[in-house]
Amino acid sequence: MKIGILALQGAFIEHLHTLRSLGVEAVEVRTTTELTGLDGLIIPGGESTAILKLARHYHMIKPLQEMAKAGIPIMGTCAGMVLLANKVTESDLQTLCLMDIEVRRNASGRQVDSFETDLAIPDIGGEPFHAVFIRAPYIKHLGAGVETLARLDDGTVVAVRKGNLLALAFHPELGHDTRLHEYFLKMVRASKKEIAR
């Protein structure tokens, strides 16, 4: 199993270290060539405008869309979630348009409003997940078939899944709790079986 981490800008090393600590082969991806042969992909946190500019300039948009269509699991965290979304509120940002969600960027305000909190995520079981939200996007609208995995106390949706796509508004890579990465790896294993069949 080989997982790629989009390494154009942002916190890609943190995901790499988390995956390697779980004994998984993880590689940095900066070019279309490096996208081939992957069983899964993580789009990390960073600045969505910067990541998209670089992805577009180096012709990675279409290959990324094809990967998602082929059923290869993709996890987007924070900026990564913005890239997955179909629509960005009050913005003409051209995303990858892979998931039927609308997100608002910097939805909790400026950096002084960034926060840490405990989230109940029934799908990963057990204790609440301690989540770090940094200038985080929120999910304002979910299309049909998009499943909510976690909400803030006020009901704001902050984690969703649809099929092979997983989108998180926060940063599981900044903590020591690896349950969400393990959840993603389960998606990857299931898809490998599916593709083999």
């Binding site: 942002g10 500019k53 300039h57 900026a79």
Partner: protein, 294 residues
């Protein structure tokens, strides 16, 4: 229960900026150009360092209207500078809602003995350094991000290289020491022992480290990444060049693809004139900025 202003949130934002370029801008128009070029953040200023250098006199925190106008037009984080030790300027910037404060030697220091006690703030700080001791003193005071100082406003990368090499050499030296020699090393570099032990154990700084001061070309940015920078600040280098938009885009690409010389070659073509450079040895010592702070 939501917690704000924690160490994790402060250092975490710096982690999100990694691999990116932070550009100095002096108005909303420049901020848009920077964002469109793929900058991961902008530094809102009244004057870029080369103009501060040329103007002389006392350089202070920027006009707040300029900073506010910049905050309105971009979605990327906005940084602003306060004078070394000027905790009221810092409080004002925090109240305004800037995302990161640079307690910067580029402005005229307000205090000759004390930096801002940055742990007391919800907003994170970045500070300059020339070596590991200075970096860890700043982290000890609460800086959540470090940048090597270089010599701002010169378009000459030599000081940035010197400072980055010094920090990385200090770290390599420390990592190789036997435990019982760590306290003497901490004393030698005048840094808090607990942070020195942390660097010994991890082999890296406790916070993200960018390069700054004199970066003017895509190749300069890539050079700093090779030497260990996790991203770059470009000040006068972009908007003092003949084609800021093209140069900004090229520096962003060279920072991401710093290991790929073909890409750096490709993006370095047709950029027009770089900013005029200054020979460091020709600058009177009292006008050097890197010596400010301690």
């Amino acid at each position: 229960m939501q917690e704000t202003g924690t160490w994790k949130l402060k250092t975490g934002l710096a982690q999100m900026l990694k691999g990116g370029v932070i550009m100095d801008v002096i108005n909303a128009e420049q901020a848009k150009i920077a964002e469109d070029a793929g900058a991961c953040s902008v530094m809102a200023l009244e004057r870029v360092p080369s103009d501060i250098r040329a103007a002389g006199g006392v350089a202070r925190m920027a006009d707040l209207t300029i900073i506010e106008n910049i905050m309105k037009v971009v979605t990327i984080p906005v940084m602003a500078k306060c004078r070394i030790g000027h905790f009221v300027e810092a409080r004002v910037l925090e109240a305004l809602g800037v995302d990161y404060i640079d307690e910067s030697e580029v402005l005229t220091p307000a205090d000759e003995a004390h930096h801002v006690w940055k742990h007391d703030f919800k907003v994170p700080f970045v500070c300059g350094c020339r070596n590991l001791g200075e970096a860890l003193r700043r982290v000890g005071e609460g800086a959540a991000m470090i940048r090597t100082k270089g010599e701002a406003g010169t378009g000459n990368v030599v000081e940035a290289v010197r400072h980055m090499r010094t920090v990385m050499d200090d770290i390599r030296r420390l990592a190789a020491l036997p435990q019982e020699e760590i306290p003497a090393f901490a004393k030698e570099i005048q840094a808090p022992l607990d942070l020195v032990i942390e660097v010994h154990n991890t082999g890296k700084l406790p916070v993200v480290n960018f390069a700054a001061g004199g970066i003017a070309t895509p190749a300069d940015a890539a050079l700093m990444m090779h030497l260990g920078a996790e991203g770059v600040f470009v000040g006068s280098g972009i908007f003092k060049s003949s084609n800021p938009s093209a140069r900004a885009k090229a520096i962003v690409k060279a920072t991401t693809h710093y290991k790929d010389a073909l890409i750096i070659a490709e993006v370095s073509k047709d950029l027009g004139e770089a900013m005029p450079g200054l020979e460091i040895s020709k600058i009177p010592p009292q006008e050097l900025l890197a010596g400010r702070g301690w």
